[in-house]
Amino acid sequence: MAGQTLYDKLWSQHLVKERDDGTALIYIDRQLLHEVTSPQAFEGLRLANRRPWRLDANLATPDHNVPTTVIERAEGNAGIKDPVSLIQVQTLDDNCESFGIEEFRINDARQGIVHVVGPEQGATLPGMTVVCGDSHTATHGAFAAIAHGIGTSEVEHVLATQCLLAQKMKNMQVRVEGTLGTGVTAKDIVLAIIGRIGTAGGTGYAIEFAGSAIRELSMEGRMTVCNMAIEAGARVGLIGVDDTTIDYLRERPFAPQGDQWEAAVAEWRELVSDADADFDKVVEIAAEDIEPQVSWGTSPEMVTGISGEVPDPAEAPDDTTKGSYSRALEYMGLAAKQKITDIRLDKVFIGSCTNSRIEDLRAAAKVAKGRKVADSIMLAMVVPGSGLVKRQAEAEGLDKIFTEAGFEWREPGCSMCLAMNADKLGAGEHCASTSNRNFEGRQGFGGRTHLVGPAMAAAAAIAGHFVDVRQFAAGNDSHHDTPSQEA
């Protein structure tokens, strides 16, 4: 008999009941809550006169709507100028208080983007099932957990029953073997994977990321990769346990202690796919072939290497793709065959649950150090993922590097990743963004998002247009050259 995949192992450890029709009841160990997708769930509980099943399984923090300027944040919730946003954040506070759920409120140092906060607290542990009303919950799969986004009705269902109705996914393995080139990061790996398999390539699958290039990544890098599994259509992305996982978790506030820790680690070591496990699909990518990536269109699969160019819709493989390409180029204000390095930028955003952890900020700061943001850039901002990331970055002097270079240094939150707070793009503005979605209007009505890694974003801010961070790092800044005007 073939061995089990990591996903299969985790699935059977949480299977409460399986119905004849294949639907299963799965036990949920951790639910993370934020202000946007939880109010209607709490409302539903109240209307049906139900109580949460298990309070200690839940952890909440506001992130989507919180303002990120120092001045606004100084006022706490009162600094939220938009009355509708304010009601949402207050509703989360009230619900957590009345039901007795632990919440890191707006100015708690532990507040931040829910997918940064969970792992940082050790609230995400190997062997868990983790859910959140947010599609980037796959982030937590980096710790060998089944983690995925759910809708608000499901949030209510988990609150009320500690279980989720689910169907077992198929298994896909994406193997990235070899050594990444210098300046190539986790973000580039995952963008290259999405470019290869497409935004629906992982639909119905749990994707396990494996191979030597994945094992070489830090936990931060692994979270970046799993974070974007949903952009490849997969609700679940996950990675097996190794020393890197265990070292990261040691001494985290929610992590087990003493002999509990020893017992947990012994079991966690088993949380890897068996060598003879059967995957329904395997995709292999050579790490050496991956260069720094930049998205040019309005879907994360519309991505290419920094040395590449915008495609010509006339050369698209089929009519639907041709239509999507043409519409994307029109929306993005780009010309067919335009060089990626010729795309001029107006704003730069370093942050989001994909790239706002300490390692991301270090990578960006390394590029920004001693340089200046180009005059043509209207706004370059760095938004740490949590209060604790911010504190760490400040202890390392990264905030100084950024502000001296002309970046704004902000308070933690989702910020311009989806522009629910005041941080957004104007119509037609191009933004180099370390977030995960480049959909039309995602960062503001008419805004044009280009997805990149943190070092690439910092380099783009300095140059005013995209540049190859690998040459940039070596000191060949194309600081003064002017790219040909965009279409």
């Binding site: 759910i150 003493g258 509990q260 039309e440």
Partner: protein, 220 residues
């Protein structure tokens, strides 16, 4: 949840692949703490020429005359015909809430994104998956015939076209049962309360570190 048994509805074609949930309902409307009232902002960026904001009187907003749902021939449509990977992106349940509030009860496409698929069924919307070439043909028929309606029958899992052609579709038995009877998932799950408690006790005994009170209890 609303029951869904059978729907004979006017079809509106949305000729676009990878329609994401940001497009179905833009983020500024997610600030509501209610489940209703999203219909007027369904496909907001495509439907109106200006940028919408929550709580606005939409009657004065300039409409995009090219957008399909603004064309009089599709007024009152309850079946949406669209292209592959519909509902990708964010997990927001506001997307099916908006579709439902607008009046759509059925979406027909070659494929759907996973989270959206779950969310739609939980809100009384039936998603019908048909082959890409069948979808292409339906697009042509809808565009050529004003007042084109489809008869969608969940009980028998078939869609009947005006010419009498029958298209069969798959749907999993549990979702079908819930939709036909308008059943609330939580109530159904709580019938298994005993099984959940039993599982939980075993799980806690085997892996106490997964529970906060017991993660530190045995510290030496």
């Amino acid at each position: 949840m609303n029951k869904f048994v059978r729907q004979q509805g006017l079809v509106a074609p949305l000729d676009r692949a990878n329609v994401d949930t940001d497009l179905i309902i833009p983020k500024q409307f997610l600030k509501s703490i209610k489940r209703t009232g999203f219909g007027v902002n369904l496909f907001d960026a495509l439907r109106y020429m200006d940028e919408g904001y929550p709580g606005q009187d939409v009657s004065t907003r300039p409409l995009n005359p090219d957008f399909v749902l603004n064309q009089p021939r599709y007024e009152g449509a309850s079946v949406l015909l669209t292209r592959r990977n519909f509902g990708c992106g964010s997990s927001r349940e506001h997307a099916p809430w908006a579709l439902e509030d607008f009046g759509f009860r059925v979406v027909i496409a070659p494929s759907f994104a996973d989270i959206f698929y779950n969310n739609a069924f939980k809100n009384g919307i039936l998603l019908v998956t048909l082959e890409e070439d069948v979808i292409e043909r339906l697009f042509q028929e809808v565009e050529a015939n004003e007042g084109y309606r489809l008869d969608v029958d969940l009980e028998n899992q078939r869609v009947t076209t005006p010419s009498g052609e029958i298209l069969e579709f798959d749907v999993d038995a549990f979702r079908k049962h819930c939709l036909l009877n308008g059943l609330d998932d939580i109530g159904i799950t709580l019938q298994d309360e005993e099984a959940i408690r039993e599982f939980e006790a075993k799980h806690r005994a085997a892996r106490p570190w997964l529970f906060r009170e017991t993660a530190k209890a045995a510290t030496s």
